[in-house]
Amino acid sequence: MEVAKLTDVTRKYKIGEVETRALNGVSIIINDGEFTSLIGPSGSGKTTLLQLIGCLDQPSSGKIVINGKDTTNLNRNQRADLRKETIGFVFQFFALIPTLTAYENVEMPLLLNGKNPAERKQRTLELLDAVDMGKRANHRPDQLSGGQQQRVAIARALATNPKLILADEPTANLDTENGEQVMEIMKRLNKDTGATFVFATHDPRVIKYASRVVTLQDGLIVKDSNSK
């Protein structure tokens, strides 16, 4: 089943008088359960592609269907709903809310989804255990290491059981050991939950975990291991 389907998607940015094309007509289908790595040099369009799939941004042209839903004409709130229900994010920086504890950060998407307190508690503790952060549930982000923060961020991304988890350079700010650990966790969760993972990276150590590698250059897909 297709979790994401992009057809001839372009994304142009205008900075002053200069127009730059971050994506030049990309078509790709991401299937259920894939563990896909988007690679390519800086400025190749990895992050832009990830943001478009994540409905954080809108394409200049082309069509994006997420989980069977055409996103072309969705307004801000409808996009927010789609993100809330279908997509989880892990960012390069350790994107936790600094005033909330690890527990509360993971609980936040469940709150936004209107889950009841008992459900929230059970799911949050279960996820923190899954990323081996159960013992640090009550720590604030500034009391956690980078690797620990990223594990909490992964737990948060998985909170609402999203179909699709998007990770933008999740290991970029981590040392090798923590980077490996984070990738192991994502891989395991991919297997255990069947969630689809797409991550942008230019860390060659990460690529070995991917079941599919898509290479971008100058806003175009130049190589896709699936179409070998």
Partner: protein, 406 residues
């Protein structure tokens, strides 16, 4: 809902000093406004009560021809048989006191110095004269049959170097248009608390004032105090008399009534100005907070928080800030107002005319009404002001918000 406030509380704690300063700005604004409101109210009440008590009363009955500016004691301007008229009026249920008074213009002269005064002939026993009797700071009050005694105000005594027992010479314009003079002995010195009034009035027993000025059995007016001043129109309607004019306190104090009515509008404008400045501080604080937390807002939108939920988050912060600042400010404002309602603020002789008298010392008066009004207004303005930064945060594009902070 609780979660918004929990987050808001922690966010405010992140930059504690800034939160404290903004809260203090709000507190100071509220305290200042509360004090101003209390001061204004005290001032308006004092000027109304002092003017009514000393100068106009609640009702005046005068001859239809009487000209209050000339203090003429010519018989055609005066009321005949005033004691009889006042006794009839005093018998009415709504009336607290009705007493005849005779006004004449005079000059007090001691050695080389002389001062123009208003001579007021009174029935000493009447409770309408309580402000003078209760305000005695030395000596005794007049008796009805005293033929040589006079009571004067403290500032006049001081300026002429007089004390109880001293003699002064009083000149009076008589009913025939002549000038008569006589020596009087000071029986008592009073202070009503209003210097401008106290230095311009001397008191004689009515009978003596009548004889001295040649007014015979006449008086300038019947001075009437009511149990409830709002009854003035009703009582005025009930008083009958040919050739008499009956004026209520509202007619006698048109300017004062007007100022009183306008004072609320004036206070509202002042509130809006001060709260406007305070609101700017709040907007500034929240805007800084929005800019600092751009990335966080990006994260929250990425995980599905909607615009209105972001607004709610910032409104919760503004609400907590407002609750803290306004509560603290109200306590300070209340404490200062309470203190000055006991001690008063001393202004001294403002040189007001007798049309609008003001006590030398203004006592603040904070009513529950105006305090609640102020607190609610301050709260609403703070929340309205915070809408701008809150909406700004809610309209950030998630990509830009996330990107902006990387």
């Amino acid at each position: 809902m609780m979660n918004y406030f929990k987050m808001a509380y922690r966010n405010l704690g992140r930059n504690f000093r800034r939160t404290l300063l903004s809260g203090m700005a709000l507190a100071m604004g509220t305290a200042l406004l509360m004090f101003i409101a209390a001061f204004f109210q005290g001032e308006m009440r004092s000027s109304m009560e002092t003017t009514l008590r000393l100068n106009t009363g609640h009702l005046q009955v005068k001859d239809a021809e009487y000209d209050p500016d000339k203090f003429s004691v010519a018989w055609e301007y005066l009321i005949e048989n005033p004691q009889q008229v006042s006794a009839q009026i005093e018998a009415m249920d709504q009336v607290q006191a009705a007493t005849p008074r005779l006004f004449a213009s005079g000059i007090v002269s001691v050695l080389e110095e002389s001062v123009g005064v208003q001579i007021m002939g009174i029935i000493p026993d009447s409770s309408a004269n309580d402000p003078y009797r209760d305000g005695l700071i030395s000596g005794e009050f007049l008796t009805a049959d005293d033929r040589e005694g006079i009571v004067i105000g403290a500032p006049l005594a001081e300026s002429l170097g007089l004390k109880v027992g001293d003699q002064l010479e009083l000149l009076v314009n008589t009913s025939e248009g002549n000038v008569d003079k006589q020596k009087f002995t000071i029986r008592g010195i009073f202070s009503t608390g209003t210097t401008s009034y106290d230095k311009s009035v001397v008191l004689l027993p009515l009978a003596k004032a009548q004889a001295f000025s040649g007014a015979a059995d006449h008086a300038s007016m019947i001075f009437i105090l009511l149990k409830d001043r709002e009854q003035a129109d009703a009582v005025a309607g009930a008083i009958q008399g040919n050739g008499l004019q009956i004026k209520t306190w509202k007619e006698l104090n048109e300017l004062l009534v007007l100022i009183n009515d306008f004072s609320n509008a004036y206070l509202t404008v002042l509130n809006l100005i001060i709260l406007g400045v305070t609101a700017t501080v709040i907007v500034n604080t929240l805007l800084m907070s929005v800019f600092e937390r751009t990335r966080e807002i990006g994260i929250l939108t990425a995980i599905g928080m909607k615009g209105r939920q972001i607004i709610a988050l910032f409104l919760a912060e503004a609400t907590l800030l407002a609750l803290g600042g306004i509560t603290f400010g109200s306590l300070i404002g209340w404490a200062i107002s309470a203190y000055y309602s006991k001690v008063g603020v001393y202004f001294g002789d403002l040189g007001m005319s007798n049309d609008m008298l003001l006590n030398d010392r203004i006592y603040t008066e904070l009513t529950l009404d105006s305090a609640v009004n102020l607190i609610v207004t301050a709260f609403i303005i703070t929340i309205l002001a915070s809408l701008y930064p809150a909406r700004m945060a809610s309209r950030m594009e998630p990509v830009e918000a996330l990107h902006g902070a990387q």
